[in-house]
């Protein structure tokens, strides 16, 4: 051919001509709007928003803790000692480095006469408190007025919860140990609150002088002394902090103190945030994966709608691979929009939370745009879109141009070409790698990946099984069931996408419901029969026998256990310093901070020797220790190894004589480490006692024991087990609420996918409905056929969800939470029944709309 037209009338460069061809064409295609991509956008945006929100909030919290480290810690550095004050050389070391302030904290009983008594988390502060930040009280009093001794009573600031619990008001007095304490103000803000962790009782803040007056500070009593150090500016940089920590460890190796710096003010809290963030991120990822089904459905519908354009492009010279890349570019542009929405929500959340609730939060939050975390959420969104879009897009490669010449009655559904399967495999591998690499606990991430993959595979098999079964069943004679069966297995049936979205949704619901009910049961209903009603702490050694006798008088037939108790920090394990030991995640707590330890002549109840043997009752040789077997295994300890603990500022080395299995859930007294009695001969210590009623106790008995014990032994701290569990339950409830919040995103995604799948099905069945109505089928008959179809699919998905959710929750409860599992089916059955009803309802609502259409207008276009 010749004759290229002459004298081209050049127009200005085409607006998009500078862009690469694929991007240029994809942008042109996007002019058609986002029709059919609503579910796609919502699913990706929701999932990314969930992940980005969780990680942004988490980063803002850790950033807040890091920036506010000085306030949280009450200084640049904090040196904590348990059961003893700093020795002369220790105090001299601290004084030589900077300005020192002291805070002592302990649990104690506040007695309000006839109004009863309550456990309080007591904090005794010195004159300079707070050295960093501000103490806010109501009324706001200067420290001198707030804490000073006046008219025979020391002043105190009190958590309003104690006022409510004991029916007290500001100005009333309580007794703590041997001191009278006047409650002069309500505590509003305590700058260093979170460094003290979760308390079992309300805060009572008094002065150091008041603490001395209580008489509660006895040798061995469980008082934590924290020395906060304000360093001169020249020393308060990172280098200075590290150097002083090193100097403290080398100059005073036996101090046994826990040293924290403002750069790492609350490592345990930060670690817990990180751990919880991972869990919520996995829930967010579940939302993304569930939404992925919606992505795949949307892309499949998109490719179907674009068959003519795809064939046209191929007829104009575009190879199949180029066409796929063009539409992949378009899909990824839409995904990028969805991801941008999700990221914007996630990035904004910390600012919104701080703006709305910042002043109410007990923990500092420093809203930041967490770029690395947002980057990870971006990758999650992009990879999920890619994983679920590749296969349906890959099929576009083989859409024949011949479809432009003749109608394709039944387009063949074939596997995409190998290159797309390889690309799919690589994207799945990248998504798995991201989930594992970005995880705090890779074992949990791998379990999640396995569970997700298993669920997808199983649900696919379930769908194929249902379709196969429907195909093989004899044809019913009645029209409605015959239509329902045919709809279940016909080409292009709703079955795979409906079973997948509904099955995943119900599995998630059942899993959450069972975890929820098991946690509630464990915390509120199923206290072990032999669980004690009370723990009594800080029983002075010299009053131990008298207190036990007193308890026997008060509690009658109750069983009373009493053991000596002190606190100690592990220093070395098998000759290796603890700092060099890599402990598995679930037992690392043993190496963090100090642990309760005891000594005993005989093996404690509730434990079984599994290796080695117990020492003779009159053993007098080298110090021996009995170690809990699972923890010993995790730490790589075996019989004969030596461990060193620092107790009361002395390093004590003992040899492991035996390993014990401990039944922790009995809530009886037990310890990770039990030493031979000669190890701590003569060391000051207190006792720990429990009271266990054979048939449990009632509230009146508990109140009577609390009151009389507080009056007769004011030095002893009483912890009612039910109250302690309630405190734990409160925390767990808040965590469960957070999990429910994140999970609801996954459920919304699941519902969106379901609605999308049903809507796609509606388009296909418009044809059936119009033809059948033309042939005389009534709406009622068609509706009953569709209801039967949705009901059968819903039922099959519900059965799968119950089974898979049961197995998933069993593993989470027993393996991850180390709790006992109970199959409480009522909640699970309720949620799955609701899910089936929602499916049938959603399906029929859409179908009714179709059935109400007049056939004529559609027949013209069929």
């Amino acid at each position: 051919m010749h004759g290229t037209p002459s004298a081209p009338q050049r127009r200005k460069a085409h607006p998009a001509s500078g862009l690469p061809l694929l991007l240029r064409l994809a942008l042109r295609e996007l002019r058609g709007g986002l029709k059919g991509f609503g579910i796609f956008l919502a699913c990706i945006a929701l999932g990314v928003a969930a992940i980005a929100s969780v990680s942004s909030l988490s980063r803002s919290l850790t950033e807040g803790i890091s920036r506010e480290g000085r306030r949280i810690l009450g200084g640049d550095m904090a040196f904590s000692l348990i059961q003893r004050e700093a020795s002369g050389p220790e105090r001299a070391f601290l004084d030589s480095r900077g300005q020192v302030s002291v805070v002592a904290s302990l649990r104690a009983m506040a007695v309000a006469g006839e109004k009863g008594s309550g456990l309080v988390e007591m904090k005794a502060v010195d004159d300079g408190y707070p050295t960093v930040g501000a103490l806010e009280t109501d009324p706001q009093l200067p420290p001198g007025d707030l804490f000073a001794e006046r008219n025979g009573a020391f002043g105190a600031a009190v958590d309003p919860a104690l006022l409510a619990r004991l029916d007290l008001k500001v100005g009333d007095r309580v007794t703590v140990g041997g001191a009278n304490v006047e409650l002069r103000a309500r505590l509003v803000t305590e700058p260093d609150q979170i460094a003290d962790g979760i308390g079992f009782g309300p805060r009572l803040m008094i002065s150091q002088d008041a603490l001395k007056a209580t008489g509660l500070v006895q040798p061995g009593s469980l008082v934590r002394w924290t020395y906060r150090l304000i360093l001169p500016p020249a020393l308060s940089n990172e280098e200075g902090l590290t150097r002083i920590e090193a100097e403290a460890n080398s100059a005073l190796p036996e101090a046994g103190w826990r040293i924290r710096t403002r750069l790492n003010a609350d490592p345990r809290f930060a670690k817990n945030i990180e751990r919880f963030t991972q869990f919520l991120t996995l829930v967010g990822l579940t939302a993304l994966l569930v939404g992925g089904v919606g992505v795949a459905n949307a892309v499949r519908g998109f490719v179907d709608r674009k068959r003519a354009s795809i064939a046209t492009l191929k007829s104009l010279g575009a190879p199949g691979g180029q066409v796929v890349m063009l539409y992949l570019t378009q899909v990824m542009l839409i995904a990028a929009l969805a991801i941008a929405i999700g990221l914007a929500v996630g990035a904004a959340l910390p600012f919104v939370v701080t703006g709305l609730f910042g002043h109410l939060l007990p923990i500092p939050i420093q809203p930041v745009i967490a770029l690395p975390e947002l980057g990870i959420a971006f990758l999650y969104g992009g990879l999920t879109a890619l994983v679920f879009a590749i296969a349906p897009l890959g099929r576009a490669h083989d859409i024949p141009v011949s479809g432009l010449f003749r109608d394709q009655i039944d387009p063949e559904r074939r596997w995409p070409r190998r290159r797309y399967l390889v690309a799919l495999g690589l994207s799945v591998a990248a998504l798995v790698a991201l989930a594992v690499v970005a995880a705090y606990d890779r074992r949990i991430a791998l379990m999640f990946v396995a569970a997700a993959a298993g669920s997808f595979l199983l649900l696919r098999l379930v769908a194929l099984g249902i379709m196969g079964l429907a195909r093989r069943l004899p044809r019913p004679r009645r029209t409605a069931p015959r239509l329902a069966l045919a709809n279940i297995h016909r080409p292009g049936a709703l079955t795979p996408s409906l079973v997948l979205s509904l099955g995943l949704g119900i599995t998630l619901l059942v899993t959450l419901s069972l975890i929820d009910s098991n946690l509630t049961r464990q915390l509120t209903q199923s206290l072990p029969e032999r669980a004690p009603s009370f723990f009594f702490l800080d029983i002075p050694n010299q009053q131990a026998d008298a207190f036990e006798a007193f308890l026997k008088g008060q509690a009658g037939d109750a069983r009373i256990e009493r053991v000596p108790m002190m606190r100690g920090r592990l220093v070395t394990l098998g000759g290796r310093p603890v700092s060099e030991v890599k402990a598995p995640e679930d037992i690392a707590w043993v190496l963090e901070g100090d642990r309760g330890i005891t000594y005993a002549r005989a093996a404690p109840e509730g434990s079984t020797i599994v290796q080695g043997s117990w020492w003779p009752e009159d053993y007098r040789g080298k110090p021996l220790v009995s170690f809990e077997s699972k923890i010993a295994e995790g730490l790589g300890l075996k019989l004969g190894d030596e461990i060193t603990v620092n107790v009361l500022g002395r390093n004590i080395t003992a040899t492991i004589a035996n390993l014990r299995e401990v039944e922790w859930r009995s809530l009886g007294i037990n310890f990770v480490m039990v030493f031979s009695p000669n190890t701590f001969a003569g060391a000051p210590h207190t006792h720990l006692a429990t009271v266990t009623f054979p048939n449990g106790s009632d509230a009146a008995t508990d109140a009577r024991i609390l009151r009389s014990s507080a009056q007769a032994f004011p030095m002893v701290t009483s912890v009612r087990v039910k109250d302690a569990l309630e405190a734990v339950n409160d925390v767990v409830s808040q965590l469960v609420m957070a999990i429910r919040g994140a999970s609801s995103i996954a459920l919304i995604a699941s519902l969106l996918v379901l609605a999308g799948a049903l809507a796609a099905g509606h388009r296909a069945r418009l044809y059936d409905a119009v033809v059948l109505k033309t042939l005389g089928a009534t709406r009622a008959r068609l509706l009953s056929a569709y209801a039967l179809e949705y009901g059968l699919l819903g039922l099959a998905s519900a059965l799968f969800g119950l089974l898979a959710g049961g197995i998933a929750s069993y593993f989470i409860i027993t393996r991850l939470m180390n709790l006992s599992f109970s199959l409480v089916l009522s909640g699970a059955l309720l949620v799955s029944s609701l899910a089936v009803l929602v499916t049938v309802g959603l399906g029929l609502v859409g179908t009714w709309r179709i059935l109400s259409q007049k056939p004529a207008q559609y027949l013209r276009n069929l």
């Binding site: 051919m1 010749h2 004759g3 290229t4 037209p5 081209p8 009338q9 050049r10 127009r11 460069a13 085409h14 001509s17 061809l21 240029r24 064409l25 042109r28 295609e29 996007l30 002019r31 058609g32 003519a308 354009s309 064939a311 046209t312 492009l313 191929k314 007829s315 104009l316 010279g317 575009a318 190879p319 199949g320 691979g321 180029q322 024949p400 141009v401 011949s402 432009l404 010449f405 003749r406």
Partner: protein, 238 residues
């Protein structure tokens, strides 16, 4: 065979699977000269469109040889076939098949863009003016009449200067007068550029405009005779 625009030798083609498999083309041999216009006619189901698609490399025969513009199509894989089509064959469809999200100009520029031509839009604009749509460059297909859409489709088919133009019922979706103007345009462009034109049609009057008419029946050539070739007498580009 090299000097033939299209040479088919003993082409057999079946479509469908299993019981639904239908033997469509049965041992067809056919040569088309360069610059020749042939009309493929025959009843529905006789294999006209399938033969056209086979000539355009859109269907692969089960057996036999298809040589187009000197290239044996059986030696090309899918991607090479697509590129070959983009360069050497222009296709005009009954239903136009413009990409709805692209303007008329962009639709015409598309094959040049796919072929990596830098001057795609300049050349497309020239073709748009050549088919009388210089004033509709930035309209979308939905904003054009059926006749205008088919003119855009023809401009798109000829813009890469293909050696062969194939058209499947190009007037099938148009009214009589619009159809006539499209036919005039198609033949004028074919004549001006010396391209080979293969036309599938039910319209015997249209077929007669061609140099040659090939009649198909049940997948076989039932008649091969000269047409009136009257189209070359009419000349105007609409």
């Amino acid at each position: 065979m090299k000097d033939k625009a299209i040479a088919l030798h003993d082409v057999d083609l079946s479509l469908g699977r299993g019981a639904a498999r239908v033997h469509i083309l049965k041992g067809i041999s056919l040569d088309v000269d360069r610059g020749e216009a042939i009309g493929l006619v025959g009843p529905s189901g006789s294999g006209k469109s399938t033969l056209l698609m086979t000539m355009a490399g859109l269907e692969r025969p089960d057996s036999g040889k298809v040589i187009v513009d000197g290239t044996d199509l059986s030696g090309l894989d899918e991607d090479a076939l697509a590129r070959f089509r983009g360069r050497r064959i222009g296709i005009v469809f009954q239903s136009f098949h413009l990409v709805p999200t692209m303007t008329a100009l962009e639709n015409v520029a598309l094959p040049l863009e796919l072929a990596g031509q830098d001057d795609a839009f300049e050349r497309a604009e020239v073709e748009m003016r050549a088919v009388g749509l210089g004033h509709r460059l930035h309209h979308y297909p939905a904003q054009l009449s059926g006749g205008e859409q088919q003119r855009v489709a023809i401009a798109r088919a000829v813009v890469p200067n293909p050696a062969i133009l194939v058209a499947d019922e190009p007037t099938g979706n148009l009214d009589e007068s619009t159809g006539q103007s499209i036919v005039d345009l198609l033949f004028a462009l074919k004549r001006d550029r010396g391209a080979t034109l293969v036309l599938v049609t039910h319209d015997l009057n249209l077929a007669r405009l061609c140099d040659r008419t090939v009649r198909l029946r049940s997948g076989q050539v039932d008649g091969d005779g000269e047409g009136d070739g009257r189209a070359d007498a009419s000349s105007a580009v609409a």
